[in-house]
Symmetry: C2
Subunit: 497 residues, 2 copies
């Protein structure tokens, strides 16, 4: 049977194979909790493990640099009921965040998972600020939320979380081993995940590269390796529309193979066909880019225009899916703009650093126009139509009510009556895979029958069910860190086997 | 490692275990193609296998009677471009069916699978009529289709397909073994599925009952065991809304365990969260019931009313999801009605047998009212509002155009000007699981990496991707039989290993 398992591996089941990798005679290395991934979830788990008193934690990442996709994230985390919100006069609480998550989730979110995020969002924010040393700057608003609750960091990027987390890992002597790709999860004779078969000195652009090592993990293995936005084959099997004609905002390593490894062990996946397009990326730059930093603070401060009709077409503050689907349906990039006052008050120096703003202007990602006429002319819009739309929108802003598309408005908004105006073109990119491994509220991976797989945990974008159909901006950062920390607690409490 | 596999089985991976069931020293029985399930897909495969000259085909079913969920199906199959349609003056073709499937699928349907159904629908209809002896009666219309193309059988039920198929199996000496449940798929040392571990003399209401037997399958195993509408745990992990508060139209055996067995081998599942609610079931009866037989022929012939507003609320001829979601959103059962002329011309003696109509009237599933006033009074509707809605609807019927909800109309419809009227209350039930095992156009099951699993096929509701988000009425019958037959061809062409 040993041969059986081994052989069946290679020949047909690229995946089944892994379920059959036998416990080696000799392990090359032994750690307590093995964490796969150096993003929010992985580093959150690593630090929590340390605070819990665990030793010999090992964090591995297949990429040559740490931070995964998190380090290029927008740089804000959802928290409901913080001191920063209170200072800004924002009333918020866990129940409101919970209901916003469920509403965006369209009924698919697993309530017990959403509840954990809502309940731990404030303590998690404090932990990041007081224990990890994350520097928060401002509370910003993201589409789909009932109130502004996205806590932006000084750096205006995920690096504002990742760098302090990495610094703490270094301070605590937590071993982070890059260019180490996990090929198989190893199951012992009691059916527990006890380690992995991996390759060290791996090069991402050379799939077969690296030297095989067997790493034992006495406290189990945490899959914190992110989603599969960059795996075109995987994403098109779940959503045939998302061919390579669509770009992705993600780092190249977001290829989802650890989800597949776990599936090969009999792990269940859910909501895999809910793949989120970012509605705020610009066709005038690549990857995640700078546009999103500005756009999420522009919604509600200026209209979003259909280039064909020169009219508004969607609730600017609607959730990501609503906006992305609407823009894709237009067939060409939409245009959002606002006046200089709003740009300077709400974007520059807030979610977007002045130097990032300058770069965006220089690269034509953000364009400045002296007046509405020149904006209309540049984008080939019908000026008189646009002018009417602009006046209508100003009226709605003033009344704080939009009878047409129910856009949300903010007290500090300045009416778009006079230039200069700043405009951005919008075309969606594959941004986040909502689905993934099914977990319980202890971050244990569940098999196809709903039973926890001993010694196997998952957190962050590699999991499904936390958000349901649609993920609200900055909630995933909370998801990753909170469930990464939960996984550490579960592993710490596991006797092993 | 043998012990490893065996042990790991019981302890944690209820599922992983099965991937590890070793090839037995001695098989209790050997067949060519082992078919799991006696519904449309299973019997279609069995008959096709026979016509291809295969011997020793074995069909097993865990239930005490044959026909699975298919035998209680509505009794009509989609085909585009048949002689019956031509006689009825209906212009139709494969491309139109294909585009209807893709449209309802909302972009998620796997085009190569939908194409096979569209291309083979007519030849499949002829095969059923000429080879199998299915008796077709009328071409009916189902919501979401561009034209009437649902070919109803004399029996007005799936039995009209299943019984002649069973008779042919008997005539050909194809062995059908009931009360035989498959527990494990067995993989040989080359990674091919070569048989199963099953239990004979199983009793569905006694999960552990039956005697274990090992059945060898030299041509592989076909999973034709249907969906998981009756598995509340499984459906709520993919859609938490569908708790046991929702009934199901399916037979009790629709519990999806063979999908899980295949997952445990590393098979991929797709679209599992697209679970279809039947919009045409009545709260005044259980299961699938009689209401659907009438309702699908009433849409377009009378308005569907919101009991709270006494007004129309949805496109009556819209697809199943649109209608079901709209009714669920009402929070209470909707009402559809039409006048006697339409009832007698389009329903009674067509999709619904006279005796079924009598039964429905006797049980209060269909209610007869002399005039609109008494209908309004019985359902506590506001009569004057209903009267206006009725007049408006008559106007749309006459104009063959509905500016409000874009309902589709038919030339032979009689205006609902005078009673008696026949009405039905509507409340959805879990009807079909769109998702399932990912297959290629040869009906081979694909693993998580997209590679075919040698010797493992799947067809019908156990598979995903054929329909995408929404399944159009009677297309699944074509899906089951066409892909069951395709699986037989693939198995026949497989040398085994």
């Amino acid at each position: 049977m040993e041969t059986t398992c081994a052989l069946s591996a290679g020949l047909v089941f690229g995946s089944l194979a892994h379920a059959s990798t036998k416990v080696p005679e000799k392990w090359d290395e032994t750690c307590s909790l093995l964490i796969i991934g150096t993003g929010f979830a992985g580093l959150g788990a690593a630090l929590e493990s340390h605070y819990l008193g665990m030793k010999d934690i090992l964090v591995v990442d297949k990429m040559p640099s740490a931070g995964g996709n998190s380090i290029i994230n927008g740089g804000a985390i959802a928290a409901a009921g913080t001191d920063m919100q209170e200072k800004a006069g924002i009333k918020d609480n866990a129940d409101l965040l919970y209901s916003d998550i469920l509403k965006a989730g369209g009924g698919l979110a697993h309530k017990e998972l959403a509840r954990r995020i809502a309940d731990e969002s404030v303590s998690n924010y404090k932990w990041l600020r007081d224990e990890v040393g994350v520097k928060f700057k401002a509370v910003t608003y993201h589409g789909g939320h009932s109130v502004p609750r996205s806590h932006a960091v000084m750096e205006n990027s995920g690096a504002g979380f990742i760098n302090p987390m990495l610094a703490k890992c270094k301070e605590f002597g937590i071993k982070i081993q890059l260019r180490t790709i996990v090929d198989d999860l190893i199951v012992n004779d009691k059916g527990c995940v006890v380690g992995v078969k991996a390759r060290i000195n791996h090069r991402f652009n050379r799939p077969d590269s690296g030297r095989v090592v067997y790493i034992r993990a006495t406290k189990g293995v945490l899959i914190a390796s992110g989603g599969f936005s960059q795996n075109v084959k995987m994403r098109t099997s779940h959503d045939p529309r998302l061919t390579d004609a669509f770009g992705s905002t993600n780092h190249p390593g977001a290829t989802g193979e650890m989800i597949q490894e776990a599936q090969a062990l009999g792990a269940n996946t859910i909501h895999m066909d809910w793949i989120q397009l970012g509605p705020w990326t610009s066709p005038d730059e690549n990857g995640f880019g700078l546009a999103p930093l500005a756009v999420e603070s522009m919604v509600g401060y200026g209209p979003m225009i259909n280039p064909t009709t020169s009219k508004r077409f969607i609730k600017e503050t609607g959730n990501r899916k609503v906006r992305a689907d609407a823009i894709v349906a237009l067939g060409k990039p939409a245009i959002i703009y606002t006046c200089e006052a709003n740009m300077m008050n709400k974007v520059v120096g807030k979610n977007m650093k002045p130097e990032q703003f300058e770069t965006a202007l220089k690269n034509g990602v953000i364009r400045k126009f002296d007046d509405l006429k020149s904006l209309a002319d540049f984008y080939k819009l019908d000026y008189s139509t646009l002018e009417k739309e602009n006046e209508k929108f100003n009226g709605y802003m003033k009344a704080m009510k939009d009878p047409e598309f129910d856009c949300m408005f903010f007290k500090d908004a300045v009416l778009n009556t006079k230039g200069p105006f700043y405009a951005i073109r919008l075309w969606p990119r594959v941004h986040h895979t909502m689905g993934g491994l099914e977990i319980n509220e202890k971050a244990q991976v569940l098999d196809v029958k709903g039973n926890p797989i001993a010694g196997l945990y998952a957190a962050g974008e590699a999991t499904g069910g936390v958000h349901g159909m649609v993920r609200l901006g900055t909630v995933a950062v909370a998801d990753c860190i909170i469930f990464g920390r939960i996984a550490a607690r579960t592993a710490n409490g596991w006797a092993g086997c």
